[in-house]
Protein backbone atom coordinates (compact mmCIF):
# COMPACT_ATOMS: atom_id res chain seq x y z
CA UNK A 1 0.00 0.00 0.00
CA UNK A 2 1.42 3.40 -0.93
CA UNK A 3 1.28 6.46 1.31
CA UNK A 4 -1.32 7.96 -0.99
CA UNK A 5 -3.50 4.88 -0.64
CA UNK A 6 -3.15 4.98 3.12
CA UNK A 7 -4.15 8.63 3.15
CA UNK A 8 -7.16 7.91 0.95
CA UNK A 9 -8.17 5.05 3.23
CA UNK A 10 -8.00 7.35 6.26
CA UNK A 11 -9.84 10.13 4.46
CA UNK A 12 -12.64 7.72 3.49
CA UNK A 13 -12.80 6.28 7.01
CA UNK A 14 -13.33 9.81 8.38
CA UNK A 15 -16.02 10.58 5.81
CA UNK A 16 -17.85 7.26 6.02
CA UNK A 17 -17.96 6.79 9.78
CA UNK A 18 -20.01 9.36 11.71
CA UNK A 19 -17.91 8.66 14.81
CA UNK A 20 -14.36 7.68 13.94
CA UNK A 21 -11.59 7.13 16.46
CA UNK A 22 -7.92 6.71 15.55
CA UNK A 23 -6.08 5.17 18.46
CA UNK A 24 -3.16 3.07 19.62
CA UNK A 25 -4.48 -0.46 19.99
CA UNK A 26 -8.16 -1.30 19.89
CA UNK A 27 -11.13 -0.34 22.09
CA UNK A 28 -10.97 -3.86 23.55
CA UNK A 29 -7.21 -3.73 23.98
CA UNK A 30 -5.95 -0.16 24.05
CA UNK A 31 -2.16 0.15 23.86
CA UNK A 32 -1.85 3.58 25.46
CA UNK A 33 -3.50 5.27 28.44
CA UNK A 34 -4.64 8.26 26.37
CA UNK A 35 -6.29 6.04 23.78
CA UNK A 36 -7.85 3.96 26.57
CA UNK A 37 -9.34 7.01 28.24
CA UNK A 38 -10.71 8.41 24.99
CA UNK A 39 -12.41 5.19 23.94
CA UNK A 40 -13.72 4.79 27.52
CA UNK A 41 -15.58 8.10 27.12
CA UNK A 42 -17.26 6.83 23.96
CA UNK A 43 -18.02 3.47 25.59
CA UNK A 44 -19.57 5.21 28.59
CA UNK A 45 -21.85 7.18 26.28
CA UNK A 46 -22.89 3.98 24.53
CA UNK A 47 -22.39 5.43 21.06
CA UNK A 48 -21.44 3.33 18.10
CA UNK A 49 -18.08 4.18 16.64
CA UNK A 50 -15.45 2.91 14.29
CA UNK A 51 -11.90 2.59 15.51
CA UNK A 52 -8.62 2.22 13.69
CA UNK A 53 -5.37 1.10 15.30
CA UNK A 54 -2.54 3.31 14.02
CA UNK A 55 0.24 1.10 15.37
CA UNK A 56 0.60 -1.53 12.59
CA UNK A 57 2.44 0.94 10.32
CA UNK A 58 4.06 4.30 11.20
CA UNK A 59 2.79 5.71 7.92
CA UNK A 60 -0.81 5.58 9.23
CA UNK A 61 0.04 8.12 11.89
CA UNK A 62 2.08 10.27 9.50
CA UNK A 63 -0.71 10.43 6.94
CA UNK A 64 -3.40 10.97 9.59
CA UNK A 65 -1.52 13.87 11.17
CA UNK A 66 -0.84 15.25 7.70
CA UNK A 67 -4.57 15.24 6.98
CA UNK A 68 -5.76 16.54 10.34
CA UNK A 69 -2.91 18.87 11.31
CA UNK A 70 -3.05 17.29 14.76
CA UNK A 71 0.21 15.80 16.02
CA UNK A 72 -0.87 13.26 18.63
CA UNK A 73 -2.92 10.09 18.97
CA UNK A 74 -5.79 9.50 19.70
CA UNK A 75 -7.86 11.61 17.35
CA UNK A 76 -11.64 11.61 17.40
CA UNK A 77 -13.67 12.71 14.38
CA UNK A 78 -17.41 13.31 14.50
CA UNK A 79 -19.27 14.01 11.29
CA UNK A 80 -15.98 14.28 9.42
CA UNK A 81 -14.62 16.98 11.76
CA UNK A 82 -11.73 16.63 14.18
CA UNK A 83 -13.08 17.00 17.72
CA UNK A 84 -9.78 16.51 19.48
CA UNK A 85 -7.50 14.18 21.35
CA UNK A 86 -7.68 12.73 24.82
CA UNK A 87 -7.65 16.04 26.73
CA UNK A 88 -10.42 17.65 24.73
CA UNK A 89 -12.59 14.53 24.55
CA UNK A 90 -12.26 13.92 28.29
CA UNK A 91 -13.07 17.54 29.07
CA UNK A 92 -16.08 17.48 26.73
CA UNK A 93 -17.23 14.22 28.27
CA UNK A 94 -17.10 15.72 31.74
CA UNK A 95 -18.99 18.86 30.79
CA UNK A 96 -21.63 16.92 28.84
CA UNK A 97 -20.66 18.57 25.55
CA UNK A 98 -19.60 15.28 24.02
CA UNK A 99 -22.96 13.67 24.78
CA UNK A 100 -24.65 16.69 23.26
CA UNK A 101 -22.48 16.58 20.14
CA UNK A 102 -23.21 12.87 19.70
CA UNK A 103 -26.91 13.29 20.46
CA UNK A 104 -26.99 10.90 23.42
CA UNK A 105 -27.83 11.13 27.12
CA UNK A 106 -25.03 11.86 29.55
CA UNK A 107 -24.72 8.82 31.86
CA UNK A 108 -24.37 9.30 35.59
CA UNK A 109 -21.66 6.72 36.08
CA UNK A 110 -17.98 7.07 35.32
CA UNK A 111 -16.34 5.98 32.06
CA UNK A 112 -14.49 2.69 31.64
CA UNK A 113 -17.41 0.57 32.81
CA UNK A 114 -19.16 -0.26 29.58
CA UNK A 115 -18.02 -2.43 26.73
CA UNK A 116 -17.25 -0.71 23.43
CA UNK A 117 -20.07 -0.47 20.90
CA UNK A 118 -18.11 -0.89 17.73
CA UNK A 119 -19.84 0.23 14.64
CA UNK A 120 -18.39 -2.62 12.72
CA UNK A 121 -15.50 -5.00 12.64
CA UNK A 122 -11.98 -3.58 12.27
CA UNK A 123 -11.72 -1.55 9.10
CA UNK A 124 -9.13 -3.88 7.68
CA UNK A 125 -6.36 -1.46 6.87
CA UNK A 126 -3.82 -3.59 8.71
CA UNK A 127 -4.48 -6.47 6.33
CA UNK A 128 -3.77 -4.35 3.30
CA UNK A 129 -0.46 -2.79 4.23
CA UNK A 130 1.82 -5.23 2.48
Amino acid sequence: MTNTEIREFIDNAIKENPVMLFMKGTPHQPACGFSARTSACLNALGVKYAALDILPDPRIREELSGLSGWPTIPQLFVGGELVGGCDIVTEMYETGELAEKLGVEQPEDEPEVDAPQLQRAPLGLENRLD
Partner: protein, 80 residues
Amino acid sequence: MPSAEELKSRIESALPGSRVNVEDLTGGGDHFRAEVESDRFDGLSRIQQHKLVYDVFGDEIGGPIHALSIKTSTPMGDRT
Protein backbone atom coordinates in the same frame (compact mmCIF):
# COMPACT_ATOMS: atom_id res chain seq x y z
CA MET B 1 15.87 15.70 26.79
CA PRO B 2 13.47 18.62 27.28
CA SER B 3 12.65 19.87 30.78
CA ALA B 4 9.36 21.24 32.11
CA GLU B 5 11.09 24.60 32.60
CA GLU B 6 12.21 24.64 28.95
CA LEU B 7 8.72 23.86 27.68
CA LYS B 8 7.26 26.56 29.91
CA SER B 9 9.61 29.27 28.64
CA ARG B 10 9.11 28.25 25.01
CA ILE B 11 5.33 28.48 25.34
CA GLU B 12 5.64 31.82 27.12
CA SER B 13 7.80 33.30 24.40
CA ALA B 14 5.53 31.98 21.63
CA LEU B 15 2.41 33.30 23.37
CA PRO B 16 3.49 36.57 25.01
CA GLY B 17 1.54 37.47 28.12
CA SER B 18 0.43 33.90 28.73
CA ARG B 19 0.49 32.22 32.12
CA VAL B 20 1.98 28.76 31.82
CA ASN B 21 2.46 25.87 34.16
CA VAL B 22 4.21 22.74 32.92
CA GLU B 23 4.50 19.52 34.83
CA ASP B 24 6.74 16.57 33.97
CA LEU B 25 4.27 13.77 34.63
CA THR B 26 6.71 10.90 34.82
CA GLY B 27 9.93 12.70 35.72
CA GLY B 28 11.37 11.13 32.57
CA GLY B 29 11.28 14.24 30.39
CA ASP B 30 8.87 12.80 27.83
CA HIS B 31 5.32 13.03 29.25
CA PHE B 32 4.26 16.56 30.08
CA ARG B 33 1.14 18.39 31.06
CA ALA B 34 0.83 22.08 30.22
CA GLU B 35 -1.77 24.48 31.58
CA VAL B 36 -1.83 27.62 29.50
CA GLU B 37 -3.84 30.77 30.07
CA SER B 38 -3.68 33.30 27.26
CA ASP B 39 -5.90 35.99 25.77
CA ARG B 40 -4.78 34.70 22.36
CA PHE B 41 -7.29 31.87 22.90
CA ASP B 42 -10.22 34.29 22.93
CA GLY B 43 -12.86 33.23 20.43
CA LEU B 44 -10.96 30.12 19.32
CA SER B 45 -12.29 26.57 19.48
CA ARG B 46 -10.53 24.11 21.77
CA ILE B 47 -8.93 22.47 18.75
CA GLN B 48 -7.50 25.80 17.62
CA GLN B 49 -6.33 26.64 21.15
CA HIS B 50 -4.52 23.34 21.56
CA LYS B 51 -3.01 23.62 18.07
CA LEU B 52 -1.45 26.97 19.03
CA VAL B 53 0.34 25.20 21.87
CA TYR B 54 1.29 22.13 19.81
CA ASP B 55 2.64 24.39 17.08
CA VAL B 56 5.28 25.72 19.48
CA PHE B 57 6.94 22.30 19.40
CA GLY B 58 6.25 21.10 15.86
CA ASP B 59 7.80 17.72 15.09
CA GLU B 60 9.12 17.32 18.62
CA ILE B 61 5.63 16.18 19.63
CA GLY B 62 5.63 12.44 19.21
CA GLY B 63 9.42 12.55 19.06
CA PRO B 64 11.46 13.75 22.07
CA ILE B 65 8.23 14.97 23.66
CA HIS B 66 6.29 11.72 23.62
CA ALA B 67 3.11 13.19 25.05
CA LEU B 68 1.94 16.69 25.84
CA SER B 69 -1.35 16.96 27.63
CA ILE B 70 -2.84 20.44 27.33
CA LYS B 71 -5.40 22.45 29.23
CA THR B 72 -6.14 25.90 27.88
CA SER B 73 -8.08 28.81 29.28
CA THR B 74 -8.50 32.53 28.72
CA PRO B 75 -7.89 35.14 31.44
CA MET B 76 -11.66 35.71 31.64
CA GLY B 77 -12.05 32.06 32.54
CA ASP B 78 -14.47 31.20 29.76
CA ARG B 79 -13.74 28.84 26.97
CA THR B 80 -15.42 28.26 23.69
